[in-house]
Symmetry: C2
Subunit: 270 residues, 2 copies
């Protein structure tokens, strides 16, 4: 259990304090935070709640959303990413997850260039503050509206071209399981894996955004994923991040109990 | 217009005779047929309707669905693919589209091996009858339930390893537009492109299966796709295949009129 982390999106209706208390109660030592609930609780109050509870913040979601149709949008995106870095520092985490953003202005190629340029601009700012930027390739069904970065290989190509030590990737089973090339790309990623997130793919898919599943309820085989990220050298926290309305509407403690059980049986490194 | 083809899935509620009549009325010289409506009309009657109208059959959908959890399922899948080949011969088309099938028995890797093995078994049978098998990589959101083949590169890897002249691929814009590697893979495909299908990706996506869009209503830029398949040497029919309940419930002649207009403006080779 020393690596299990509750990404607070899994318990969407809990405040930061409630999620922290839930982790303590369940014996979970890490939490992945989202900026909106952190803002609702207050940044300092969230940091204090985590500190007082003696748990650690595995990552902050999310920076990104770089593609912009106007100069004003572009400047806003850069400012927002710098703010995410600042918030990560206060919260005591070294990792900001980047959901890079969908197509802006109808131009996929330019949107992809903007993602790369944006990360390149924010990376030195983050590095000065000891923060790493973790590019999260999202499932290709989100290419239009959430992330023009859709494969691990593509994310690593971006990281390679930028060449900043503090730019790496997220390996998320939900987004990557279908990719025949994913094992080679995880090996290629090596120490550039900054976060490992798990949840399952339900079949049939109940909903594009909110139909993710608890590990064991879908088609993903987690063992090879955990083995591959371990073999690549990853030893950090393992976040469970589940967007699922049914789970969100279930009692939090029961969700965490199931999560711990499934993690132990299906995900935990050998 | 000499290359435009109506894939009859676009006019789901039309019988074969109605779809053929609709093509004649709209001046469309090709039709892509599906086995279920062909069976409903009768195989010979369908072939006769097409012949009498003087139009040509661009492809028959669909073979595939190879992954099988039992020996009985496997034998049924092979028999069904041979039947698809036989039906293509009667209908006068040289191309059977393969929707390869989703995960059987919870084993993605075995399912992928079964796809390759199945195509390898059916290919000589098809070759003797002058029929080509066109592997259609489907969007990764269909990996669990419809096709474990999800990228053009993966489809070409299968075709390469099998090494049969009559095994190639389908390029479908809906399934492939998100892939940063698609241009290189279309060039690699060259003469192994056996079919080119178009429809748009709507944003937001109304439905995983039935939310495809008329060209121009979504985010896909068709010009580079047409240019790429042309540059690869493809000179065959261009099928419009749209799974969309709203379009299905619209009057067929109006759908075809819009389809012709959008094809002329957005898709047609220069």
């Amino acid at each position: 259990m020393d690596r299990l982390s509750l990404n607070q999106k899994t318990t969407e209706h809990w405040s930061v304090e409630e999620a922290v208390a839930g982790c303590v109660e369940a014996g979970i030592g890490w939490i992945g935070l989202w900026r909106e609930p952190v803002a609702a609780t207050g940044l300092e109050a969230s940091a204090e709640a985590v500190r007082r509870a003696g748990i650690r913040v595995s990552s902050l979601c999310r920076g990104g959303f770089f593609p912009s149709a106007t100069d004003a949008d572009w400047e806003r995106a850069l400012a927002d990413n710098r703010a995410a870095v600042d918030e990560a520092v206060v919260l005591g985490t070294d990792t900001v997850v980047l959901v890079c953003g969908g197509i802006a202005g109808g131009d996929l190629d330019r949107s992809r260039r903007q993602v790369e340029e944006g990360i390149g601009i924010v990376a030195p700012y983050a590095a000065e503050r000891g923060v790493r930027l973790a590019i999260e390739p999202l499932h290709p069904m989100f290419c239009a509206d959430r992330s023009v970065i859709v494969t691990l290989g593509q994310a690593l190509d971006v990281a390679d071209r930028l060449g900043h030590d503090n730019v790496g990737v997220v390996v998320d089973t939900f987004h990557l399981w279908w990719d025949p090339d994913v094992w080679d790309q995880i090996a290629r990623a090596g120490e550039r894996i900054f976060a490992y997130q798990v949840c399952d793919w339900l079949d049939p898919l109940p909903d594009v955004l909110l139909g993710r599943g608890m590990m064991g309820d879908g088609v993903i085989d987690f063992r090879p994923f955990t083995d591959a990220v371990q073999a690549a050298g990853y030893r950090g926290p393992i976040e469970v991040e589940i967007f699922n309305e049914e789970i969100w509407n279930s009692p939090g403690p029961a969700v965490l109990a199931t999560m711990v059980d499934r993690y132990e049986r299906l995900v935990k490194p050998a």
